[in-house]
Amino acid sequence: MLAMIGKRLLFAIPSLIGVVIVTFLLTRALPGDPAAYFAGPAATKEAVDQIRKKLGFDKPLIEQFVRYSTDLAHGDLGSSLTTGQPVAAELRSRLPASAELTLLGLVVSIVIAIPLGVLAATRPGSWIDHLCRVTTTAGVSLPVFFTGLVLVYVFYFRLGWSPAPLGRLDVFTSAPPTVTGFYLVDALIARDFEAFRSALSQLILPAVTLAIFSLAPIARMTRASMLAVLASDFVRTARASGLSPDKVIVTYAFRNAMLPVITTLSMVFSFLLGANVLVEKVFAWPGIGSYAVEALIASDFAPVQGFVLTMAVMYVLLNLMIDILYGVIDPRVRLEG
């Protein structure tokens, strides 16, 4: 198994090199001149040239690429011009924010979607099946920023139940010392329950927003896959053998229906991680999505490259994890390169 994992990681190297080259070229092909942008509103032509030289953008492309790759080999992703910070440090501090939000959103989504899908599949045509259909359609057709804004309007502005949408913590709460970067976990480690409470209450609305959006693919996939499995021979045999309906559904059918659901989950997770820009914007969440988009708007190359590379690495690892998980759920699946 370890050998297999090693082999899989080796295979990922060429694709990562490809990602590095393509993002480098793509960012350079963007319209806009970062030197002119950062020279400020009152810059003369000389000032712009001075800045271009300082940033190294006056060198030929190939030389810029060699310098970028050497830095990369040393783990240096460069510095962002918009925020003025090293990209690696910023990604490190922002990735947990996005991951915490996405994971919690996904957990909420799974807790609702999987039972809903299973129930809908066992009672096709019943009210619960219709409920499943309505929620999934609604979830998919409402854009996330809209759901987010409506939730903020109702729960913060109107009812006042939710705290101000001001990012990960209440303004007057200080962050727990960083261990994992996940505030909920760190606050528990530090036994700082006020920070925990604050972090959790800040998380609820954005996580629910994400959950509403990701509910649909998971519930639909669970339902479809359960329906297929329930119609198969071994389930009929199990029923004929007099096993209780619960045992048939949970032990036999559900386990076999899990594979496509896991695949969907991994896709939903990686999609959400990069694509929850809008949720991050609505809730002032300091995540990586909004970071990348802001950098893109300012033609700030380094963070965009760093973001794409991070996402590529995440995809590789996530796929590997899912493949391993397959083997655990269904021993028939072999982990092969």
């Binding site: 000032a47 800045i51 918009t82 949408p165 007057f172 329950f193 006020e194 609505v282 300091p286």
Partner: protein
Amino acid sequence: MKRRDFLKSVSGLAAGALAPTAPAIWSPAKADARSETLLIVSEGGPNNLDIHGVGTNVPGYEVSWNCYDRLISHEMKSGPGGVPYYDRDKFKPELAEDFNIGDMSVTFKLRKNAKFHDGTPVTAKDVKWSLDRAVSVGGFPTFQMSAGSLTKPEQFVIVDDYTVRVDFLKKDKLTIPDLAVIVPCVVNSELVKKNASEKDPWGLEFTKQQTAGSGAYKVTKWTAGTEVVMERNDEWVSGPLPKIKRVIWRMVPQAGNRRALLERGDADISYELPFKDFQEMKANGKLNVVSLPFSNGIQYIGMNVTKPPFDNPKVRQAMAYAMPYQKIMDAVLFGLANPMFGAAKDKPTEVAWPQPTKYYTDMEKAKALLAEAGYANGFETTISFDLNFAGVNEPLCVLVQESLAQLGIKTTINKVPGANWRTELTKKEMPLFTNVFSGWLDYPEYFFYWCYHGNNSIFNTMSYKSPEMDKLIDGARIAAANGDTAAYDADVTGFVDLAFADIPRIPLYQPFVNVAMQKNVTGYEYWFHRRLDYRAMAKG
């Protein structure tokens, strides 16, 4: 005792039981912290804490203004609506306790008890090092210093430990005002030199991340793109001790949420909201909304005069008569701007800037002028705008497009992404565009020097060149330096008249800076840089 320390010590004893009751215990402490803390929400935050840095953005200026001291600053006067407004002509000592303006130099006596945040006293060598730095680092700071004829390190002379002299290269009325802008701030030279390197002799990397000044506030925490926390410097001596102990500045990208935060009373102050929101908040009266005109600023429609059809003054005049001025005021700005059009026919030109033109919307006149110029059937053109300010620019351009269509002019709208806008401006190829220019130094000749002079600076976006105009602008600058009021007045009215007759750019309105704050927040002051000065503010 800090809340968290307290919590930690207690949580060891009764961790589980405490959690649910915690909020009740902390409320008084929270309320206390709340009344001495100013919570600001805005769209963007600083990218650099030092205005001398490479590409420091406008929010960064606000940090510099509050965390560093300058030798001198401006007095306040009562502005529009009774809001304190900086007085362009009156200076007060800040880090200097006294200053003496001579014929070809100015001498500053420093406060002997002023200290940097780390406790080292502020001396003449720090002042010289900081001014040397401003004129040497290149980019924006050096450019801004040169606007006041401050270009060489030799100009800054240490007389003794607490006396500095600034020598003038030539007589320039803008030298003293230029020493009161944000750029010539005084930096802790010993501390920064310790953290400088051969590659970075001015220590820009160090001051990018932390403040090394003697100002009323110091940055204690900065998470780029998320928040800036500033604490009061209790040892500050360059003015009365500020009332606000702590400033928390959070970035909230969603304008709707910023408004919700204000209306719920969670945030104290915010700017950068859509005009419609400001208008509504003003009307419902729950918050204090301050709207003040940009000093020396105008939003305009520019035309490239080097290419047809806009090389013809008749076409440009026709355009000036075809602008839907009032519609822009009502539908785009919700009245939150000063009109820069429609002055009475017989109104004499004033020695002031900005001032309204005598143009107004008159489609018949526009048609006649266009026919005279030989474009009776109109033409095709493209109007460009900066997407960073799409909230105003986009509807404005649509209204212009609609209006021009009545003259048979087919206009395509070209939206230029913010990162690209500066490049496009420098190229000077856009035929028709809208933009804002506003100068820190509030003098007509300063504005005209950048926007109309034939030396073709980046802000002369129209590539307008006229020997007569150059003569008037240069004349006004010289007259100002020599204190020749009669010649100055003649030159200023002269170039204003010429700019309106030749009309290479059509002034539309003078924009407002809008700030919304809670009723209990007092002490807002308008500054030429249009950012907040926390030192005068108070709560409760």
